[in-house]
Symmetry: C2
Subunit: 767 residues, 2 copies
Amino acid sequence: MRDLWSISTAELADGKESIMRRGNVYQIANGYMGYRGTLDEFGPQQLVGITLAGIFDRVGSAWREPVNAPNGGFTSVALEGVELSTLGKKVVRHRQTLRFANAVFERETEFASKGTSLTIRSARFLSADTPNLGVIRFSITCSNAAKVTVRTGIDGNIWDLNGPHLIQMSAERRESVLLLQGLTSEASKRVVVAEATDLSFGDEVHEIKGNRNLRVINLRAEAGKVYTFHKYFAVFTDNDAVDKPVAEAAIEAVRQAKTLGYEACMASHSAEWRKRWDQSDVKIEGDNDAQHALRYSILQLLMVGPVKGSANSIPARALSGQAYKGAIFWDTEMFMFPFFLHTHPEKAIELMRYRIKTLDGARRKAKTEGSGYRGAFYAWESQETGDDACTYFNIGDPSNGRQLRTYFRDKQVHISGDVAIAMWDYFRLSGDDSLLLEGGAEVILECARFYCSYIHYKRDKQRYEILDVVGPDEYHERVNNNAFTSMVVKETFTIANETVRHLRREHPKALRTLLRKLRIKGELPNFRDAARRLFVPKPDAKTGVIEQFDGYLGLRESTVEELKARMLHPNEYLGAGQGLAVPTKIIKQADVVMMLSLFRTRFSAELKKANWEYYEPRTEHGSSLSACAYAMVAAEFGNLDFAYKYFLKTAKIDLEAKYRVYAGSVFMGGSHPAANGGAWMTAVFGFGGVQADENRVAINPRLCGKWRRLQFNLAYKGDAFRVNITKTSVRVDASPSNSRVHTVLVAGKPVKCSPGRPVTVKYGRTR
Amino acid sequence: MRDLWSISTAELADGKESIMRRGNVYQIANGYMGYRGTLDEFGPQQLVGITLAGIFDRVGSAWREPVNAPNGGFTSVALEGVELSTLGKKVVRHRQTLRFANAVFERETEFASKGTSLTIRSARFLSADTPNLGVIRFSITCSNAAKVTVRTGIDGNIWDLNGPHLIQMSAERRESVLLLQGLTSEASKRVVVAEATDLSFGDEVHEIKGNRNLRVINLRAEAGKVYTFHKYFAVFTDNDAVDKPVAEAAIEAVRQAKTLGYEACMASHSAEWRKRWDQSDVKIEGDNDAQHALRYSILQLLMVGPVKGSANSIPARALSGQAYKGAIFWDTEMFMFPFFLHTHPEKAIELMRYRIKTLDGARRKAKTEGSGYRGAFYAWESQETGDDACTYFNIGDPSNGRQLRTYFRDKQVHISGDVAIAMWDYFRLSGDDSLLLEGGAEVILECARFYCSYIHYKRDKQRYEILDVVGPDEYHERVNNNAFTSMVVKETFTIANETVRHLRREHPKALRTLLRKLRIKGELPNFRDAARRLFVPKPDAKTGVIEQFDGYLGLRESTVEELKARMLHPNEYLGAGQGLAVPTKIIKQADVVMMLSLFRTRFSAELKKANWEYYEPRTEHGSSLSACAYAMVAAEFGNLDFAYKYFLKTAKIDLEAKYRVYAGSVFMGGSHPAANGGAWMTAVFGFGGVQADENRVAINPRLCGKWRRLQFNLAYKGDAFRVNITKTSVRVDASPSNSRVHTVLVAGKPVKCSPGRPVTVKYGRTR
């Protein structure tokens, strides 16, 4: 497996933005926390961040955002009293590597000062099997005997967008363990970092200075000798369910790790990673570029999948920092969830538990939005409680500094249905109904109830309509009968009905309890009626085009270029009521095509083609969620060139990090896990042609030009498959441990797949 | 009757804006055309305008607007070769007068040049009994013998906002009649002006120069001798139903008038005006200021009432020019119609015939707006066809010159109900159902049908709702359940049901024909259901406040001052989606209070007080329609000081002409007939306390402080009453020609009023 590595010394000098971008590209994470790909000696100015999952804080009236932990991975080195940093001019060579196999970040830097060269080598990982733990190996070698000073410990001077979040900071040393702790300013949650080392050279003194709690080691280094030590740091917060004070837990964790030692920690970490890759690697033969980009995307997802039992989800910028308020958007259910569902159901269920955990927040939102709704209206930007972090005035007008009213929060109602669909997909594709019983069914019914209180019946046309919404295309707000939203809402009603049917058959007592708890029995006929009579825009009989919303086809034709030429400010937003795109057909991102992609089993290739060709030239792709939807649908109707182009664009977004990172003075950079998921979906659903439903898995391959072979794994109903596609054949390996024989539909042919018995099917190259 | 007169010579020099304002103040009109109060010698630069009712034209892509006729009233005088004009420096004294009694405009100006003084006296009127005719008496006197040149005839160089509208102009002299004619550029409608004079002094030569068709009279004037002549001009267009070419008709008209002579024309004109005042004068004793302002308002309305048989209505700026596209708004039905209905039912019916004439336009609009509606959606800005002249981008952003999307045209749906309510009011207060039979019933049913296709049923709340509308307060667009709109829509359904009931009883055959024509029988149960179950926001149980629309009470508190302080440009519009008022409770004009005023018999004084006191401080009064609604409602719950203040503001708006006349470079000046009607309503409905419905007239007087006596006339069910109110008594004079005895409810007491038998009722001073 190719790793990611760079970097020439020339690149090191190119300033703050490049440091920040590399921090994204080289980040590591373990679901509990993310550690940006910064160097050991970096500080807050270099955007060092250890961003924690599921703990948020607000300072004053600024945005609530996730909390960054003090940096337990800090180490700096001085040579003859001169601090060494890649930011200075003493770098001879530098190389840093992100190991794809096990998410280990390594650096090797040779500095030269006054005739002496000093090389730093370090490796760090966030333990995949011990969520609170970070482990670092650090070594120094000098060409000549020299005086070296190492500072290592916990740096509490941390980067924050809207911080500082930790107050009442205290630093201490308990026996050999360093400790730095503070309280979040809003809810007084304790955040503690402990650090231990096996340092055995030089003279160590302890130094507490400001928010830094450090060991200072003065060493007369011998020429050529390698001085190595290991650091273990642990982060605990009041969110961790531990049976002792969190400081004690942190101390214990680093002591345990130190006792185990670096190699043992690394071994169990790597074993876990081998399992992960084994479950989810996708192999592409004949296209190293695509292979590398897709593996990087998968790596990103594997790093940020939630910790078991945490009921956490994945924010839109994952754990790469505090951008987008660390909030969970529809991105998770629509773009990341399918990857986990098809490769790591045990992570997929955790993502759904997050929505169960935040159901009460969704209920609160429903009550308070508009004139008051019932049921569950999930947050557009969801943090730990499920209350909405999205503001009503969410975008600034750069021309005059005024805030623009946007309707993301109150009108993008498809979010509840996105949740319900993912919830149901977990059950129907994993076959595991435990999620429904532990709250999933309640979520689904409450989402349907919300829609029941949102929709209106149009007597004149004898149908329900869903009015005044924002679809995925945020440039056209407050529209009626948005096809995507309507389809999602209709599906939610159907799912609610199916949920009741399933529980009635399999868990009648649980159903009774649930219906009583929700006092919802009398509303069930309404769900059935709505599932039948909710209007979803139909394709035009002649052109096959589905109108994105009422009146869309009557809007003015334009081009993205025309609009950009008319902009008065380079950062002008094209939507928000009076934006330049609003009266035109130009859309921000896939909307009808997003619907075709989400409900891809329901629409014909002809219809997909007609709509793709209509909407694509009118799409700005102003969101990272757009290209992959267009890629997937293009693959499905056979425009493989376009599918490939948009696949690569999606898969490389974080690898190349060429996205915009500042909007005005606001930092928006970070990873794009939704695009990472979109890349996986395009490979497996698009080119691989996988369509799974409650009855069966179907595989209809459409390999693009260069690809000789595409291999991927699928989890389905508790069993596992490896699929191996060439231009002419599909081989399905049902795992020997599978529980039963499955019939898989390969290129239209039903194929029996018995445990441990590979089957190969030939298929026509052109379909 | 006091007349309006001015003007000191100092005022004459104050420039273009003052000339333009005086042109509004001193205008005359006769329903067929309006003639701005400019002087004989003025030209297009001085905004001379003879604006025609009901004929419109568009040039290129500019706004369609009414056509101005060539100025048949032009006369200029030169003394010893020097042109005389009030704009020059030779004015010794000047006085101009608008005669309230008969709408005659007079001017008297003394000029002095080279030791000679020359006085011009002229009087002009637009015949109240011969709509196409204008008549002028013009005289000249010199202090010394002098050479005088008079140019008189037709000036085709006319003022237009978006003209020139007349093309292929031709000038000719047929025998002694001058003729100037042209075609409108859009529809090639002929507009012709003929002029005849009885000039009998000097040497006359004929001069055609550019678009001017003039007689040039050179005269050696004797000292002290009065040289008088009379001008008769007639305007005809292809809209006039005449049995000969319109040029012939115009020639014949001026010849006839000339044969009759000035005095005879004046006599029949004045007789008609005596009748008008006799039907509609309001006398206020004890308050000359209010008396004068109110009479001026009434005069304005009497001048612009439509010509019998024209099926024309009254534009928002009446016939004072081309501002607001000469379009008819809801202003007519809601603010002017009541005056005509209660004093000149024969004009009221004409206003309603205009809505019958434009029903097909309203049907076209319904079909094409939104996703397509049924029935009749009347134009927000209605011209001769009823197609909507209102643009979707109707307001400019002065900061960047961009056009703002407004929802006046497509969402201000109350317009159809406003029409239906007026249509029904005509029937129920005049007792005359002929209007229903000639198309009024069709209008009402089609309006109800439109609403049926617009409303939605909210199953969750078991009610119909009316969503996504703009109420009278245009700062808050696209709101749900706007109280005013909901009440209007509900009333429309009720009226539709009543209409069917009435026709079934009285004209069953006509009903059958109508139902068949409209294929609407199957929809009638829907009207009944909607009338019962349409939601109208209810008063808060504790405060009595009715929420203007869903969510209004949750908006931010502010003040008009705060918003103005934050404006980035003095002409910044406060609405249109992102305007400063949008997220606040600041409203442009009466909305809930407008509802209380329109449906004043349905709400208690307590409720009116509660809502008035809540909304008044939050109202900008950014429309001339606002103050009178607040005045009326204030009178009704007894805040007479405030009622009086807003009454005066309303009544004086055109008299003082202190409104804004330019918005950027767009001329917005002109008269405010809706405010004129509002002034009358405040006097009669507010202070007079008149409430009439289909069963009876009620009078509940609330005279304000200074007023010793208030006298007005009322037409009701074909009969006439004069009401005479003092602080302690109400006297009702039923006309001797009344058809029957009426029971009038005076201060709560039923009083029998027999024809020709005055009744006086005492009432308590404080109620």
